[in-house]
């Protein structure tokens, strides 16, 4: 039996994404490899969301090339994404997860067990039969996370998942993410919270106005940023 193909490493070669007169990503080259979580940081409007979408395969580059595990076809078999404002399907919490499992090809007989397992992993077991659209913001994020994990991904993109959450909810979500990272999933997460960078990042990708400004291990980025923009960012100044 052939080993299942992997989506890693994700290699971007001089990728630009333009829509009309707007340039969202400008000549970005980088690689995403197995390992600790990669945090994508930068001021608002720097292209973090676009980068995640390109890496997920939802947006095609206007220029440049992208490949997953050496392949340039885009079928997202073992990667998943959690959007900044996830949309709940008009079903129960359990129903949302069951749907994700069905789409990932999990046979019907195995779904109930997996649903229970995922609900527990994100701490929503008691809300299984609640209508998903009636959950709180933090609960919806966790449910969306469960949906993403249902795909058994090796690569998980997260777009500022805690941006709208209170500290308690933020911590709950970060714990799940760290556990997922420890279980071997490659995490690529956009964030504008330096504290989060400190807590989670293995390495950092720093974007400014669609360009890749700096890239490297989290520790060196935070302690010894090499570009003026990075230095300003780390100090908490606005980076125009």
């Amino acid at each position: 039996m052939r080993a299942p193909s992997s989506d890693l490493p994700v290699i971007l070669e001089r990728v630009s994404v333009r829509a009309g007169a707007t340039t969202m990503l400008d000549d970005v080259s980088l690689g995403i490899r197995p390992g600790p979580p990669t945090l994508v940081v930068g001021p608002n409007g720097s292209g973090k969301t676009t980068l995640l979408r390109v890496c997920m395969g939802l947006v095609a580059p206007t220029e440049g090339r992208i490949s997953w595990g050496g392949r340039s076809d885009a079928a997202p078999i073992r990667r998943a994404i959690l959007f900044q404002r996830p949309v709940m399907l008009r079903r129960t919490a359990a129903g949302n997860i069951a749907y994700a499992l069905a789409q990932a090809g999990v046979p019907r007989s195995r779904r109930p067990a997996r649903v229970a397992e995922l609900l527990q992993r994100v701490g929503l077991s008691e809300l299984a039969q609640r209508s998903a659209r009636k959950l709180s913001g933090g609960e919806q994020q966790r449910l969306a996370l469960a949906r993403a994990l249902a795909r058994d991904p090796e690569l998980l993109f997260l777009d500022e998942p805690t941006a709208n959450l209170d500290p308690a909810a933020t911590r709950a979500v970060e714990e799940i993410i760290l556990l997922a990272a420890q279980s071997g999933i490659k995490i690529v997460m956009a964030s504008h919270d330096l504290g989060q960078v400190r807590r989670i990042a293995g390495d950092v990708v720093f974007l400014v106005r669609g360009k890749l400004c700096e890239q490297g291990p989290a520790e060196s980025f935070l302690a010894r940023p090499s570009t003026p923009e990075a230095a300003a960012f780390v100090c908490g100044d606005l980076v125009i």
Binding site: P76, L89, T92, Y99, Q103, K134, R147, A148
Partner: protein, 230 residues
Amino acid sequence: MSDQLSAWQLILQGDPALFAIVQLSIVVSLSAVALAALVGMPLGALLALTRFPGRSALVVLLNAFMGLPPVVVGLAVYLLLSRSGPLGAMGILFTPTAMVIAQTILIVPIIAALTRQTVEDLWLEYRDELAAMDVSPLGRVATLLWDARLSLVTALLAGLGRAAAEVGAVMIVGGNIDGFTRTMTTAIALETSKGNLPLAMGLGLVLVSLVLAINAAAWGVRSWSERQAG
């Protein structure tokens, strides 16, 4: 049907002629809604999710045809089904089948246009998530139709209302034959033309009550299923 009694008296007495008329009205309109849903819902979903040259024109056409005059549809179907028309050999003119066909044509645009709007709105919401979960095109249609089912029921009720209320199409293709193709609306038209206005009005109230009852039942089902979904 006795001319001397009011419509309500006839109901209480279980007048068989009146019951046959009510039954035919229900059967014809419900059949038309079922057929129109089979055609109109996939059509509406398709229009919501695909892009092709001429799509805008088709959407405008569908919206406009929601207001197709029933008598025009009746006339067109009559000419099709007449013995001297292209489908005359089928011999279904002046039968309930012809009435179902005419009403189906009448309400497909309503169901398709409302489905398109509902599905398109939901698609805007679901688009990213379904793409992220790599859902197949057919899967998208099924998911959107299922998740929008409560709104789609409203579309079906709109179609049912149109079908139950119209008289122009069923009169022309059915012929208002006593005991065979007489529905509530054609019976009302007949009694009016016989000067039997109280009876006609009574029948009208019976028809309105029927449609009200169906809508109330649909609302009940909707509330129940909303509660079930938590």
